[in-house]
């Protein structure tokens, strides 16, 4: 278990190489992959999140850790899948039609990925139809929409309307965010959740998982 403690540390320090090595070793020693995830990887990312909240870490440190985590998961997930274990939630994400801003969207994607979610990033300037098709095809648990302009915010509503029209609104939880968006607006257009920061998005998604 000392080795596994080192795995946690490698994740926290963003040492992807060590994290991958230690994960491989643990799997070779037949440690239950679920235990690795639950007891070492996720607590490590929680610690990273905590340090970010306390202004000890910045996003770059958080992203390095997330990348290390992703590397470990690439070894673990196939095993879990082969055992028929359900992976953590799948998230389709994109910036809505007419809007090219992607830093916020990318950050949310990275953080969710670091938290173990599977991300399908549709990019920017994504039409409602594209979102609908992707949801039909990928069957995600979440759809995350981003907008940075007051004039593209209405595209969020159009996307939700398109989901309704396609009869798949209830198949997915819709999250919205971006500078001009507010919780009030999220409520107005019938979204399921809103976060005012990329770091808040992980907590939001987790809270909606239960």
């Amino acid at each position: 278990m000392e080795q596994l403690q080192k795995l946690s540390e490698a994740i926290i320090n963003g040492d992807a190489k060590a994290a991958r090595e230690l994960t491989r070793e643990a799997l070779n020693h037949r440690v239950d992959p679920k235990v690795i995830v639950k007891d070492y990887l996720i607590p490590a990312m929680d610690e990273v999140g905590k340090r970010f909240e306390c202004n000890e870490f910045f996003v770059p440190e958080l992203l390095i850790a997330a990348r290390a985590m992703k590397g470990s998961l690439e070894l673990i997930n196939p095993i879990l899948a082969s055992r028929g274990d359900k992976p953590a939630g799948r998230v389709v994400i994109g910036t809505v039609k007419g809007d090219l801003h992607d830093i916020g969207k990318n950050l949310v994607a990275s953080m969710l990925e670091g938290a173990g979610f599977e991300i399908i990033d549709l990019g920017v300037d994504v039409s409602p139809e594209t979102f609908v098709n992707s949801i039909k095809e990928k069957q995600p648990t979440f759809l995350a929409l981003s907008a940075l302009l007051t004039t593209t915010m209405p595209s969020m509503k159009h996307t939700i309307d398109a989901l309704k029209e396609a009869g798949i609104r209830d198949n997915v939880k819709v999250l919205v965010g971006g500078a001009p968006v507010s919780s009030r607006y999220a409520e107005e257009i019938g979204a399921d959740g809103y976060s005012d920061s990329a770091s808040g998005a992980v907590g939001l998604v987790r809270s909606l998982m239960t």
């Binding site: 202004n55 000890e56 910045f58 996003v59 770059p60 007419g98 090219l100 007051t150 004039t151 607006y185």
Partner: protein, 460 residues
């Protein structure tokens, strides 16, 4: 490349309202000739832009400009600049932009005719080239649209043109969230500068042909993105401060290509443009808190020639619609600066110094705008003549200034910030010495980095 001398040699030539090369434009507006003037911006509230909302949109712009000009006249504002920053659909379809430009220009004409107020219209289309990813920067539909816009804005009634161009942004975005200084330098010092040169030669050419003033460009997509991320505590402030420095050579390219100012309001690299090129600059600070928060509320004002609200959406506040509120705030700020200018230069310097001292030592991003720091870093940048070399020099000079100020205890940094400052210095030491080397290191990664070398005149 340009000569290496800088236009403003000493602090007592470096003040708000005055610059070595004033600009005259529109209906009698003089910028940088002894008086700070307001630059007012406004935009639509939450709404869609399409044919069914278009008549409402026209009405909103009409009522915004009317109410803003009414208040400006009531407050005896002698002279002002109005900026119309288009929304992307108006860059895609110039006919929409034309209608709004005509409305604004007509109302400015009416205000001028009825009250004598001096005014000019600056129009800023969007850089829509990144609507394709990776961006096509020198060809294609979006390039053509933008050029069409530049060719036709003057006829619609615009007096000045500007842009917030984005060449290199596709690489810089990732570099910012990763605090990757090397890639920041590549994106600004290689890609950004190259795109600026290509783009601004075209813009200046179009402006000269259509008789409109090529005003300036903003590294908003780089420097202000970094500032916003730092303000949300996502990236270190020292890093954001260094990114600001890295934008200087990039934005300078516009003026070397023939832009004459005023620089764009959101271009916080403006004081450097003024110091190096002597052009008038537009700045925004506490009065643009409606558009974005910042650690630069007062210091931004220190050497401005236009003072702006950046942008405000047309929502109702208790007193009036928000654009009118901005107009009033800008009017009073300018009155105050101009009162001190009219008294005596010595008094205006005092005012400038308070503006500086009230912010400069609280935040490294403000420190980088300290007029003394601006002059020192400007000299170091202009000691080099290549884009890339200047960018590396700007970064190193900024790091040196920050380290020294932190060591002296003048600038207070948190433990985390201080740690990052050291880390950035280590990285800066290892940055390739020449552009060629830098390009060689990076170019094989172009696909992963999502940029097209040819669009920057780089051969693979």
């Amino acid at each position: 490349m340009t000569e290496n001398r800088i236009a403003i040699e000493s602090l007592d030539q470096f003040i708000f309202g005055r610059c070595p090369s004033p600009v005259v434009c529109g209906k009698g507006v003089e910028i940088g000739n002894g008086r700070v003037i307001p630059e007012i911006n406004f935009t639509l509230p939450t709404m869609e832009i399409n044919t069914s909302t278009w008549s409402d949109i026209r009405n909103q712009y009409r009522s915004m400009i009317q109410s803003v000009m009414k208040r400006a006249i009531e407050l005896s504002v002698p002279s002002l600049l109005v900026e119309f920053e288009t929304l992307p659909p108006m860059t895609h379809n110039f006919e929409w932009a034309r209608e709004i430009i005509e409305i604004l220009s007509e109302e400015l004409h009416n205000s001028h005719a009825s009250s004598g107020i001096k005014c000019a219209l600056r129009v800023t289309p969007n850089d829509t080239r990144e609507f394709v990813r990776p961006p096509l920067l020198r060809q294609g539909k979006y390039w053509d649209e933008m050029m069409y816009f530049f060719e036709n804005a003057a006829a619609a009634g615009a007096d000045l043109l500007a842009i917030e161009s984005t060449g290199g942004k596709e690489v810089c975005d990732e570099a910012l969230v990763n605090a990757d200084l090397q890639m920041v330098i590549f994106s600004l010092g290689v890609l950004g500068c190259r795109d600026m040169e290509f783009l601004w030669n075209h813009i200046v050419d179009a402006c000269n042909r259509t008789n409109i003033i090529p005003s300036g460009d903003s590294a908003c997509a780089f420097g202000n993105t970094a500032m916003t991320l730092a303000d949300q505590r996502m990236i270190p402030k020292v890093f954001a401060a260094v990114v600001r420095a890295a934008t200087i050579p990039r934005s300078l390219v516009a003026y070397e290509a023939g832009a004459v100012g005023p620089s764009k309001d959101c271009a916080y690299e403006g004081p450097y443009m003024k110091a190096i090129r002597g052009i008038p600059i537009s700045m925004e600070g506490r009065t643009s808190a409606c558009a974005h928060l910042s650690p630069l509320g007062n210091i931004a004002q220190a050497v401005c020639d236009c003072w702006s609200n950046e942008s405000v959406s047309n929502v109702r506040l208790l007193s009036a619609f928000a654009p009118v509120v901005s107009m009033e705030q800008l009017a009073y700020d300018c009155r105050l600066m101009n009162t001190s200018l009219e008294k005596s230069p010595a008094e205006a310097y005092l005012f400038r110094d308070w503006l500086v001292q009230s912010d400069a030592f609280i935040d490294p991003q403000a420190f980088i705008l300290h007029p003394e720091v601006v002059l020192r870093i400007s000299r170091r940048i202009m000691s080099r003549s290549q884009f890339y070399d200047r960018t590396v020099e700007a970064v190193r000079a900024a790091l040196d200034e920050l380290s020294e100020a932190a060591t002296d205890g003048m600038l207070s940094l948190t433990v985390q910030e201080a740690r990052w400052l050291d880390r950035l210095k280590d990285i800066a030491d290892k940055i390739p010495d020449t552009e060629n080397q830098m390009v060689e290191n990076v170019i094989h990664n172009a696909e992963t980095l999502k940029f097209i070398p040819e669009e920057y005149g780089l051969a693979i």
